[in-house]
Point group: C2
Chain length 435, copies 2
């Protein structure tokens, strides 16, 4: 699929009133997730305004036909992996059918019985994550961080040739809202000869996009760059919480380990590749002098349409701010075009050694930062390694995160002539370490 | 459980004749795995000599009672995760019951109907791996490799304080016997300014032990070192196939990625903690001058019993050797006591940040090498980075692995007064890259 259809029509409105003008979930979005109400079994749903279309109950009642019904049935279980394992066509059919039903007032009574209030629902992970991989494609983040440690030579020689990434921990990925317990670990003070063990003193966020994988590839069989785009089911916001002091001590020579694997928070809705179609834009041209990607990473169509017009934002609200009714404070905002590689390039590279990607696998983009202070994706960058505190509206300041801090990520797809869509909540509140 | 019982009695023999004197699977072993015959559903089994006790059919027929029956039922599905999720007691009960039944000639006719020929069976992974983590606890390997790249300072400052590890790729772990397709990837020749993409020219093995996790810990709640030992369901052999040229180019700054995630081979049988009980030995004292482990990693009982008396061996048989009937050639043999940390220390460290470990998770120990040439766990070490070829019995030589080479790992637990037990096959044959 390439291009837009009636589901993207900006004139289309829903009989679900809360959807019209909704910041995240107007009828043009229709993201996929897994929800339950207390005492109920988790199952697939589609967000529409402040409500959720229960795909399991809709499938049972025969609300859909043909391929749309196939997709709804695949979304009826506690994880969307069976839906992600389908070819794109049934997911597109489900989207078109749901968009028609939710905009056709004549069908309202028949459909409304399958809607639940989002405020009554708990959100779960949308899929059982087989493997989680985190990339490092935010070039300004790599620069900003590199500059702190290697001022003369911030980017390593491989950066502009290889999409750098590492394997993450699937078991510690959680949906928005789960508390972030401050991790303990080994750290070594700059002037100490030996490490000590205790709670991290440099707890940080990392603003990332996540990619949910649809159909993958067979073990041993790479995916071409031309195929890779179709393996992206959709995107999510991802906060790769990081303990910088643990990271600095442990990461040589095998990379980040426990500094990252205590928790990763994702927004619980898969904003589908279909919903994002109007927001596809050209990958920005590389700066003069940068190497061209090797042929296995190069595809004209991907360069022309492989980036996304997304605005990504980080906000903090301390406990004192919450108690005083002070709204979350924006730490930064910036565009997703600050990624050096397209999502399709990340997928192709990942499978280039024959590594098997599977439906429900999750990729992180790497931290997305602006080159300047307006949209840093981590406090490490914004505070220059903890040296320049951020002052908050109520007079508090932060170098790294403190207990009680709530950290929000927001994301919004924006393009003239189209209705903006968003990702929903991606929040975590810091709790003290285990006693 | 600590100590030995009647299941370890060296005088105990089985009415399964092939078990008595079997190098790997005498009645004192009884490892757990998942098998199927062509057209059948995979289910749990227990190896006994050249046969497999079908735990699913035994459970259905009511061969076991009480906790042993609970365990056999949990082993009846296509993966042993439900069995691993149980407390140790039912697994111990199953072991004791199976040992009694397989040694009691009076029960033979009743039990024999549940035995299948191992030669008729395909072995699968014993569990669905939630997450796979690879450590770097083989201190001589770290030294040998460090010496190649940093002769003056082979071990990094953190090595003797932190159990170094990284997250691996669960989707690419396969049971013994699956072919190893030569991966392609980016490499940069030493004198080149830019990388190229193509099949690895430096394909290597890594001899490791794997740990299968039983009950884990809840996300956010660390495991004490005193608890950690009981979370080890058993051990396996693990070959962490590695593409050294990809690794050298990609690994900075986030660690190994595609150089490792094309395939990891394990022996398909879980040699249980219970079976290994007689082979527990003291962790060797650290060399004079080495730091003591931090308190969260220190437990007297673990130091006294946390290591294993295992001999680990690597063998190669090239295609030409196979055609000429030349037996596999030993590349090296050495003890598992060349690990700097106990398995319990690895488990405790892994959970120390609150990372959730789950039943069926797999940990690799890191490559286990001797300080000298007798038991190098990789060709990188044995050939000094590819500079000193190994000469094989038929006159061929190898620096790294070539297409058609079969690489075998073997492992054997040996202690005077006890019957030796082994791990079974852990083999992979190298195939050319995807055309």
């Amino acid at each position: 699929m390439r291009g837009t259809d009636e589901t993207h029509d900006p004139a289309r409105v829903s009989w679900v009133d809360s959807a019209n003008g909704h910041a995240d979930f107007p009828i043009q979005n229709l993201p996929l997730g897994v929800f339950s109400r207390p005492g109920e079994a988790p199952r697939g749903g589609m967000a529409i305004g402040e409500r959720i279309l229960d795909l399991a109950s809709a499938a049972r009642s025969g609300l859909f036909d043909g391929e749309a019904q196939t997709a709804a049935e695949a979304a009826s279980g506690p994880a969307l992996n069976p839906l992600l394992a389908l070819a794109p066509a049934p997911r597109c059919a489900l989207r078109r059918a749901a968009s028609a039903l939710l905009s056709d007032t004549a069908r309202r009574s028949e459909v409304e019985v399958h809607l639940v209030e989002a405020s009554d629902a708990i959100m779960h992970l949308p899929a059982a994550i087989g493997d989680y991989t985190d990339f490092y494609a935010g070039v300004h983040h790599a620069m900003n961080v590199g500059r702190l440690f290697r001022p003369a030579d911030p980017l390593l020689p491989n950066y502009k040739h290889v999409p750098i990434g590492y394997h993450g921990r699937a078991s510690t990925v959680v949906p928005s809202g789960r508390t972030v317990r401050r991790p303990s670990g080994q750290t070594r003070a700059p002037d100490a000869s030996a490490p000590t063990f205790g709670p991290t003193q440099r707890l940080d966020l990392e603003l990332e996009l996540g990619v949910w994988i649809a159909q993958g590839n067979r073990l041993g069989e790479p995916l071409s760059i031309a195929e890779a785009g179709s393996r992206i089911a959709g995107l999510t916001l991802l906060n790769d919480w990081s303990a910088r002091d643990l990271q600095a001590w442990e990461y040589q020579p095998l990379g980040p380990f426990l500094a990252k694997s205590f928790l990763t928070t994702v927004s619980p809705w898969i904003v589908t590749a279909e919903a994002l179609e109007p927001f596809r834009i050209a990958q920005p041209a590389r700066p003069e002098g940068d190497p061209a990607p090797l042929p296995y990473l190069w595809d004209e169509a991907d360069q022309a349409h492989g980036a996304f017009a997304l605005e990504l934002e980080t906000l903090i609200q301390t406990e004192a701010m919450r108690k005083a009714g002070v709204a979350p404070h924006r730490l930064g905002v910036g565009p997703a075009t600050n990624l050096y590689w397209t999502m399709a390039q990340l997928v192709t590279h990942h499978a280039s050694n024959g590594c098997g990607l599977n439906p429900g696998d999750l990729l992180g983009s790497g931290t997305i930062s602006t080159p300047d202070d307006t949209g840093m994706g981590s406090l490490l960058e914004l505070t220059r390694g903890g040296k320049q505190p951020v002052v908050l509206p109520n007079g508090e300041s932060r170098t790294f995160l403190e207990d009680g801090d709530a950290l929000h990520l927001r994301g919004r797809a924006v393009r003239e002539g189209f209705v903006s869509i968003g990702f929903g909540e991606c929040v975590g509140v810091i709790e003290p370490e285990t006693a």
